[in-house]
């Protein structure tokens, strides 16, 4: 008889098993189903029907098409420029906030920690808030949208780059240093090539995000196709709205396809580490592509009329007479609680519904295609517009805002889950199918088992993103900090604005810390 391993870790009988874990967030559907009837006012089902019908009958008006294409051009240009600036700044920031770099260069690590904490502030403020704040300061100009994307994105890239740098094995670096190599040369040689694939993979993801952010900024009047989307929705011109949406969808899918192709071609790691990749094998090609991008960016900046000097000219601001007692008297507890509730609800919905839908719909003959379409629409459709659409049939409030946020994030998570499921290989699932198991049970046991922890870890990160995004649904009266923030912005209540931004930033940083812990626990398990 084979010798026994000592009885250890009977974990499986105490904790929910992996496939169940992935579906746990979907339990939020139960309380939601209980409260939803009270939120429905049902007045606008006809409008929803007209909206849905318009999807197959978009307007072909040449004037509209020309205007939509111009708007799309602006959105893409803003996204590309904001992304490129953020990547450049983020790389510098990431290197400067890396403990490994500081230890090698100066023999101490505290400056890295200090810079990381400093970079947490721009990161914690959503690009929409940056956009609206900059708009107040320097007026409406193309550079505002670019900078609104570049500032928080650069801080996000910096964090990822420094995390990647600090996670790399230091043995090659120490070997080079011991052989007498100078610190900068040793860092570049030992860590540079290993860092590149991760950076470019994350950069590709940020480019996709930048397109969504540029669209969102447009919804709030910062130019581009988003403005057209909002105007056509508010004036109920659904056929015109769908013309814009189909154009945007085409560009978004093209961009995502390109990023996926390059990720595969350059051997970069997959999105949540499920498809392990080697170090980029086509360095020269990658370098040439980067160099070729520079003149393109320059031309885009010229076409867009970006003038960095104009950003230095600050507009005359109204006199600042702070009324701090009034600020303190705001219902902070209720606002923070409702913001957190909104975040949790939206995150649980997005994280839970993606695997549930995959399980229910993917085995249908056209199921995967249907899901890919639904998830593309979710990613495409900015949450404020979803919220406006939902207002046709739902009352304004937290539930409506949560549904809007959840739909958008469902698009992101659903796509990731599908990609991860494909990358993970289906050995166990195929084995179960061969043993006569039905397609759904085989998917549930065979594939979800391996995916659940990494997916939920990504879900924890997404919850952190959703907390930051709650501000964008403030306009539907979600009763959280976002609503008040937008009111403070429009009424020039600078004291309230400062306090709200500070609370929002603190909350986001706390959320980030919490989601980090959850993520590490999930992955460690």
């Amino acid at each position: 008889m084979t010798p026994l391993a000592p009885a250890q870790h009977p974990w499986s009988q105490r904790r929910p098993a992996a496939p169940l874990l992935i579906l746990l967030p979907a339990l939020v559907l139960l309380p939601l189903a209980a409260v939803l009837p009270a939120v429905v006012h049902g007045g606008g089902w006809e409008l929803i029907g007209q909206f849905a019908f318009a999807a197959i009958t978009p307007s072909g008006d040449p004037v509209l098409l020309a205007s939509a294409l111009r708007g799309l051009g602006v959105t893409v240009a803003v996204a590309l420029l904001g992304w490129a600036v953020s990547l450049a700044l983020g790389l510098v920031g990431g290197v400067l906030s890396s403990r490994t770099v500081w230890r090698t260069m100066a023999g101490r690590v505290w400056p890295a920690g200090a810079l990381r904490r400093l970079l947490a502030i721009p990161r914690s403020i959503h690009e929409l808030l940056w956009g609206l704040l900059l708009l107040q300061l320097v007026g409406l100009q193309p550079a505002v949208a670019v900078l609104a994307i570049a500032i928080p994105y650069a801080a996000l890239v910096a964090r990822v780059v420094s995390d990647l740098l600090d996670a790399l094995p230091t043995a090659p670096l120490e070997a080079l240093r011991a052989a007498g190599a100078a610190a900068p040369a040793a860092l570049l040689t030992a860590l540079g090539p290993a860092l590149l694939p991760g950076v470019f993979s994350y950069g590709g993801y940020r480019l996709e995000c930048a397109l969504r952010s540029a669209t969102l900024l447009g919804v709030f009047g910062l130019g581009g196709l988003g403005t057209e989307l909002r105007l056509t929705l508010q004036s109920l011109q659904f056929h015109e709205l769908w013309t814009c949406l189909w154009l945007l969808l085409a560009v978004m899918l093209l961009l995502e396809g390109l990023v996926r192709l390059l990720r595969r071609r350059w051997g970069m790691p997959g999105r949540f580490g499920l498809a392990a990749g080697a170090v980029g094998s086509r360095g020269r090609e990658l370098l040439l592509a980067t160099l070729a991008l520079l003149p393109v960016l320059l031309l885009l900046a010229l076409a867009l009329g970006v003038n960095p000097a104009a950003l230095l000219v600050v507009q005359a601001l109204p006199p600042f007479h702070p009324d701090w007692p009034a600020v303190l008297a705001l219902p902070w507890g209720a606002m923070v609680a409702s913001t957190l509730l909104l975040t949790l609800l939206a995150a649980a919905l997005a994280v839970g519904v993606a695997p549930l839908l995959l399980l229910l719909v993917a085995p249908w003959p056209w199921g995967r295609l249907l899901l890919q379409g639904l998830w593309a629409l979710g990613r495409l459709w900015p949450p404020p517009l979803t919220a406006l659409l939902l207002l046709f049939v739902l009352k304004p409030g937290l539930i409506t805002a949560a549904l809007a946020l959840a739909f958008h994030n469902l698009g992101v998570l659903g796509r990731l889950l599908l990609e991860a499921a494909d990358a993970a290989g289906g050995g166990a699932e195929a084995a179960l199918r061969c043993a006569g198991c039905g397609p759904r049970l085989a998917l549930f046991y065979g594939r979800f088992s391996g995916l659940s922890r990494s997916y939920l870890a990504y879900g924890a990160y997404r919850a952190d993103v959703i907390l930051r995004e709650t501000v964008v649904v403030g306009l539907v009266g979600a009763a959280g900090l976002g609503t008040l923030l937008l009111e403070a912005l429009s009424s020039f209540a600078v004291d309230q604005l400062l306090a709200l931004v500070a609370v929002y930033a603190a909350l986001t940083l706390l959320g980030e810390d919490l989601s980090d812990r959850v993520r590490h626990r999930l992955l460690a398990a």
Binding site: Q8, P10, Q13, A435, S449, G450
Partner: protein, 268 residues
């Protein structure tokens, strides 16, 4: 399920047919992966499948367990062709157990849950979900473990805590829990040390008694003595269907070429 498809179904006197392939062809790039392969496997038969790498052994097993649809020819499971209805086909496939070379255990689940995964074809969702929350059918699982010389105390453990040999045995125990009539094994002895390979082979041969049949592909001609028949493939064609005694050095040489030499050197 009709049994009229096969001329040698029950009632013909000899043990019933568990698997039958008639003139099965699977196209490949250039040459066919399987070219006109016909074979029969009866209850209680233990058949070894030999052939050099790329000869078509895995393809044949993939056709036999329904993973691969042949482009030509016919396939019969227990005398019936694969059903058109998904539900009926699932029932047919539930009676085919495959031992995969990479085992395909579900790493995130416990030994108990892995064993019960073999019963999913019979269970509905409620039971499948309960299996993830509490131990189910512990007595049957313990018996399956004992059959493969594993201690039932392993049941609550994570699969990742098992040694390589224990994992191999667990995969066989999972097959037993499925209660198949057709056992297919795709090179289960590859990459195992000689002692473990011999132990596992004995274990598999012991399980293959009527009404069950075993079709096992392997790379080592020196291990075929315990089988009733030996089939051999070369370039996708069945070139041998004979008792093990018929296998001589010249035949092995013709099957494997230079590849066979290490196997021949080992004691039988």
């Amino acid at each position: 399920m009709t049994r009229s498809g096969s001329p040698s179904g029950p009632g013909s006197g000899s043990p019933s047919l568990v698997l039958e392939l008639r003139d099965v062809t699977v196209p490949g790039r250039g040459a066919d992966r399987l070219a006109g392969v016909s074979l029969q496997l009866r209850a209680g038969e233990r058949v070894a499948l030999l052939g050099a790498s790329g000869a078509g052994k895995s393809t044949l097993l993939a056709v036999a367990n329904g993973l691969l649809q042949p482009s030509g020819g016919e396939l019969f499971w227990e005398g019936a062709p694969p059903a058109r209805s998904q539900r009926l086909r699932q029932r047919q496939r539930a009676r085919i157990g495959t031992l995969w070379q990479d085992l395909r255990l579900i790493e995130e689940l416990s030994v108990q849950q892995n064993l019960n995964a073999a019963r999913l074809a019979e269970w509905g969702w409620p039971r499948a979900l309960r299996n993830l929350l509490q131990p189910l059918e512990t007595a049957a699982n313990a018996a399956a473990l004992r059959q493969v010389d594993l201690d039932p105390a392993l049941l609550p453990q994570s699969v990742t805590a098992l040694s390589g040999g224990q994992r191999q045995r667990l995969a066989i125990a999972r097959l037993l829990r499925q209660q198949p009539t057709l056992l297919l094994a795709d090179e289960p002895l590859a990459h195992l040390d000689p002692r473990l390979a011999a132990e596992l082979l004995t274990l598999l041969l012991r399980q293959a008694t009527a009404p069950r049949a075993l079709l096992l592909s392997l790379h080592r001609p020196d291990l075929v003595s315990g089988f009733d028949r030996v089939l051999a493939l070369r370039a996708g064609r069945l070139v041998l269907d004979a008792p093990p005694a018929a296998l001589d050095a010249a035949l092995i040489q013709s099957l494997y070429g230079a590849e066979s030499m290490p196997a021949l050197a080992e004691p039988r």
